[in-house]
């Protein structure tokens, strides 16, 4: 019984983990290339969630189609924020970029609140479910998982098989080295920032395919926290590391939930969060470079 429940929850965790991973890739990409921590990360996820909600509820557009639209919107938003704000701060002390991304997050929250109000909203996309015997998976969750995996693979191919991707990798490794090879480092910064924001906004759509309720301007906060834990799990500067970090996080979250639920008189969900951050602390203590990071020289 418990074993079955655990197996079922772990399957759910793996599916959710893929989406978590995808939702962290943008954070890792921006950190890897620009060495900027996007503290406003969750707000960009929230923007994606609103794009999914509005497209579905007003135009009846399928969330799967909303993913590329949200990605394009995020690319534009990223370019706008890069050239208006971030570009000036690249060489400034870290505090400046932290404050800037924090304020951009607040700005987005307040603009969305002004336009759409602050009540909790949701949408209902019924596309059936499949029964695995030990657990029931809605098709929407499977689509979200498959979409996340596909995007991770595409990003991997882009990074490793294209000329622009190799330029980006060289900037991650050593921006001065990239410069002497003739890479336009400024353009690489702009591209990776907007790509990171595009991925993050798109991940907001995927997350609503998983949890289509509770959409409101302030929903991003706990995703920022989760993304930090996942990014550290995955080695911080690597988008694919982040993807696998997401899988691990999804498994840990759901696995620990199942175990905590066995303890009488305990509210398992609250403990799950405690457990996640305990994991973060332990990892930072034993492997400050991240659990899944390659051996860096």
């Amino acid at each position: 019984m418990v074993v079955e429940q655990m197996a079922g929850n772990l399957i759910q965790g793996l599916v959710l983990g893929a989406v978590y991973g995808m939702a962290t890739m943008g954070l890792s990409l921006i950190f890897g290339v620009l060495k900027v921590v996007n503290v406003g990360h969750g707000a960009f996820i929230m923007v994606g969630a609103f794009i999914a909600l509005l497209l579905f509820n007003t135009l009846g557009i399928n969330p799967v189609l909303a993913v590329p639209l949200a990605f394009l919107f995020g690319l534009g938003l990223g370019l706008l924020f890069y050239y208006s704000v971030m570009q000036r701060l690249i060489k400034a002390p870290e505090l400046a970029t932290l404050l800037a991304t924090f304020s951009l997050g607040l700005l987005l929250q307040e603009v969305v609140k002004l336009l759409f109000g602050s009540e909790y909203r949701g949408y209902n996309w019924a596309v059936g479910k499949i029964d695995l015997g030990i657990t029931v998976l809605p098709m929407s969750k499977l689509y979200a998982c498959a979409g996340s995996a596909l995007i991770a693979v595409l990003l991997y191919l882009w990074f490793n098989k294209t000329r622009a991707g190799s330029a980006m990798r060289s900037v991650v490794e050593d921006s001065e080295g990239a410069r002497v090879c003739g890479v336009n480092v400024g353009a690489a910064y702009a591209l990776s920032f907007s790509l990171g924001i595009g991925l993050t906004v798109a991940s907001g759509v995927l997350l609503t395919m998983f949890i289509p309720v509770g959409i409101n301007p302030y929903m991003g906060g706990h995703y920022t926290l989760k993304a930090f834990v996942i990014a550290v799990l995955g080695g911080l500067a690597s988008p694919y590391g982040a993807f696998f970090g997401g899988l691990v996080f999804g498994l840990l979250e759901n696995g620990s939930y199942t175990l905590f639920a066995l303890i009488p008189g305990v509210e398992p969900f609250a403990l799950t969060r405690f457990f996640s951050f305990l994991m973060l602390l332990i990892i930072l203590l034993i492997r400050p470079t991240g659990l899944l990071s390659e051996k860096r020289t």
Binding site: S170, D174, G177, N184, V185
Partner: protein, 235 residues
Amino acid sequence: MLNVKRVESGYGSMQVLWQPSIQVKKGSITSLLGPNGVGKSTLLNTIFGSIEPWGGEVYYEEENVTRVPTHKKVEMGIALVPEGKHLFSNMTVYENLSMGAYLKRALAHKEESLELVYTLFPRLKERTQQLAGSMSGGEQQMVTIARALMTRPRLIMLDEPSQGLAPKLVREVFETIQKMKEEIGLTILLIEQNAEASLEAADFVYVMHEGIIKAQGTPDQIKGSAEIREAFLGI
């Protein structure tokens, strides 16, 4: 080939360069001497464009390139071997060299460049699949120079290429620089703290101190002046 006129630059509000002017003749080795912290690296980085010039002008083959962005300068044939190597440590030697052939003009001649680089550094040919970060200091310096050659430069600027190397390797680096001039026909601007070796290799020498050019001449003229040697070079 390179004509630097009264450039000024620095970091933040601290001015480092106080209008030094230098000229590098086509096909020559020009050496910039002087102790640490007098602005030699700043001058190279200002010529290359990694540091934005505050004033003055830089001409490359008669063209004003003072404010041309670095990636365009690389395309025009200016290469920099930066101090501290700046290799891509988690990439293989081959991937590092390939990054040198990143721009279109270099990419079109990648195979020729590889052949040239492997002739110059046969050891790299045996190590194409090794991660650059796992190599010895001397080998890493070879990769850095080789990567710069992959950009197919006509002018190559080297910032302390022998720094931290054992005497035998220092000799190898200087032999390579000679070969780059004689066999490939490159023009070379060299920064060195190793004054004796550079005086040996150079065709023309500038002595820099506190952001200005204190002396200039042929190596024999510089060696001949006890005053310059004692005051600025310590030899």
